[in-house]
Symmetry: C2
Subunit: 348 residues, 2 copies
């Protein structure tokens, strides 16, 4: 949405439906965080500026619209809008709120200065305010989720948040670990990015009482998309330009985080190249110079490691599209499919 997706004419109405629903999601997001304390409201207003593509809320809405047992009948009779209940809108806001909380804390951990083309909260207000505001967002997400009145949703959101933190802790544990292997990288990424995108796909379906097997399949679809998304994100951090990505780049190298292209490269290149690459990566921790980066990217291209990471992301998206194809044939399914394809095409 938001100009991210060019959709065929047939999908314009459902895209409009989602766009209208997102306005409701934003409204409940903002209202729910309102406190009666000006210092708190001022910080929350800053977080509203972080709002991006709203991927997770869109997935919640599309999960419900594609997997509801009434989906086909609803679309056939033009009553699909009735599936977008107040509870679903809340759930969409919950997933975005959990995501925002992780962004705010991530920026503290990464000491990032830039987010969505603006200064990060930690830069403007200090790490302390960013830590507590992240906590406030998490608490807000859980509270909002509980107001839907379904403990099964709260339980899933809680469990996934635990997974997400465990993934972050695992990543932190491997910071500066130049022997990080592929399986551990995927374990980190699955937990820290995959699980939340997975439940975003799943829980909309759960709320509208889709068959549990469909909800589970949607979770897997979302996890795959999330991992593909993170691989692309890691690639952008490595090869992207700050001005087009809109947030700090080269943070992974500075933070000693090995990502997929580097892991692949170190595994396949000859010992001499490997030694030189490790040297360049170690230099990177003190800030990445342009010439070092050019050399490193050249080596990564030579070993086919950039292409490998791109192909891995594309393969995950293809897998997820196969799951999506098993859903009932509705415009919502078509839009979900278009969204999946967009994950590998994204430039920011």
């Amino acid at each position: 949405m938001r100009g991210v997706l060019d959709v065929p004419d047939a999908l314009v109405p459902v895209q409009g439906l989602i766009a209208d629903a997102l306005v409701r999601v934003e409204k409940i997001f903002d209202e729910h965080l309102q406190a009666d304390l000006p210092p708190v409201d001022r910080l929350c207003a800053h977080v509203e500026r972080y709002r991006g593509k709203m991927l997770r809320p869109i997935l919640v809405l599309l999960g419900a619209l594609s997997a509801s047992p009434d989906a086909r009948a609803a679309f056939d009779s033009g009553r699909e809008g009735e599936l977008l209940t107040d509870g679903l809108i809340r759930l969409a806001a919950v997933c975005e709120m959990v995501h925002m909380a992780t962004l705010v804390h991530d920026d503290v951990l990464d000491d990032a200065q830039l987010r969505r083309r603006g200064a990060t909260l930690n830069t403007l207000e200090g790490n302390e305010a960013a830590v507590i505001l992240g906590d406030y967002l998490i608490a807000g997400a859980y509270h909002l989720c509980a107001t839907i009145g379904r403990s099964d949703l709260s339980e899933r959101i809680g469990r996934v948040s635990m997974d997400l933190c465990a993934g972050e802790l695992l990543q932190l544990h491997h910071r500066g670990d130049l022997s990080l292997d592929g399986p551990t990288y995927f374990e980190i990424v699955r937990r820290k990015t995959g699980t939340l995108i997975g439940v975003s796909c799943e829980l909309g379906a759960t709320l509208v009482n889709a068959p549990p097997s469909t909800a589970r399949a949607l979770y897997q679809t979302g996890v795959r998309l999330g991992v593909a998304f993170q691989i692309r994100d890691d690639l952008l951090d490595l090869v992207g330009l700050e001005q087009s990505v809109g947030k700090s780049v080269r943070k992974d190298l500075e933070m000693g985080k090995l990502t997929l292209p580097l892991i692949h490269h170190l595994g396949v290149c000859d010992p001499l190249t490997r030694g030189r690459s490790l040297e360049l990566i170690e230099h990177g921790a003190q800030g990445v110079s342009d010439s070092d980066l050019r050399e490193l990217l050249g080596l990564l291209r030579e070993s086919g490691s950039i292409a490998y990471a791109e192909a891995t992301a594309a393969g995950l998206v293809e897998d997820s599209r196969r799951d999506i194809a098993a859903l009932p044939d509705t415009p919502a399914r078509a839009l979900l499919d278009a969204l999946a394809r967009a994950v590998v095409d994204r430039a920011s």
Copy 2:
């Protein structure tokens, strides 16, 4: 408990009942946080060492035992142990987990080195690990709460966590504010400490289906006890010795946080003393020297400000004991009352 309370012989059985239940609380606390990732488990093991007086779980248990509609009958027939259901034990662990999360993040914010006579997690493992582990504990608390299957409990825990964070943000906003007034101090303390102790008293009662008015009264009781507790905590930070308090002291002065004795003192003393006191407080931000501290404490004693803070805490405890007296006459109520009295007598 744990040697904190000297109780009359009549209360020994109910104290034993609570002690046994706390073993179950600790067990579920530890089990629930177990991940399948060694780096996560290692950090959680460290947090287990933070375990202190378990005030919040005790209040959850006593809230249920004192306010259950069957409380009198249960104690009369010796079946009070049946009130300590698995759900109640979980709820007690939830309140402790939220509390632990705030301790871990507070130590990051305060840059504290010492907690429960051991090094803090941020000191041992860095701020990043402490921030994420705090998040993991919060997520664990919400997840565990959702497994009880009552959305009303999750909603209250979520709302109170929002309040708690709002209190922390308000406190941060007033860091270094030497004109902080009494009402704002109480607003901060009510939110950041009062509300969680309040729901700890309330939710045990809610779970056993106590009348809503009783649950609300228990919430107010807990808020008052919490505020009294925090006033004592702030006093210990000011006048206590690190070795007897068991955690870093003089952090409030170093962090530019005015607490009740200082607020009272600056409001009542003559202009000359006020000027000198402000000077000493401002010095404190660069680390408090022994001679400055001695002088400041002397001035606070002269203006009756230490006594004022002690009397305020004692007054709040008296108010809360009046509410406790309105509960059915059971050994649980008597123990709750003994616990309330202990709040103002605590030395650590």
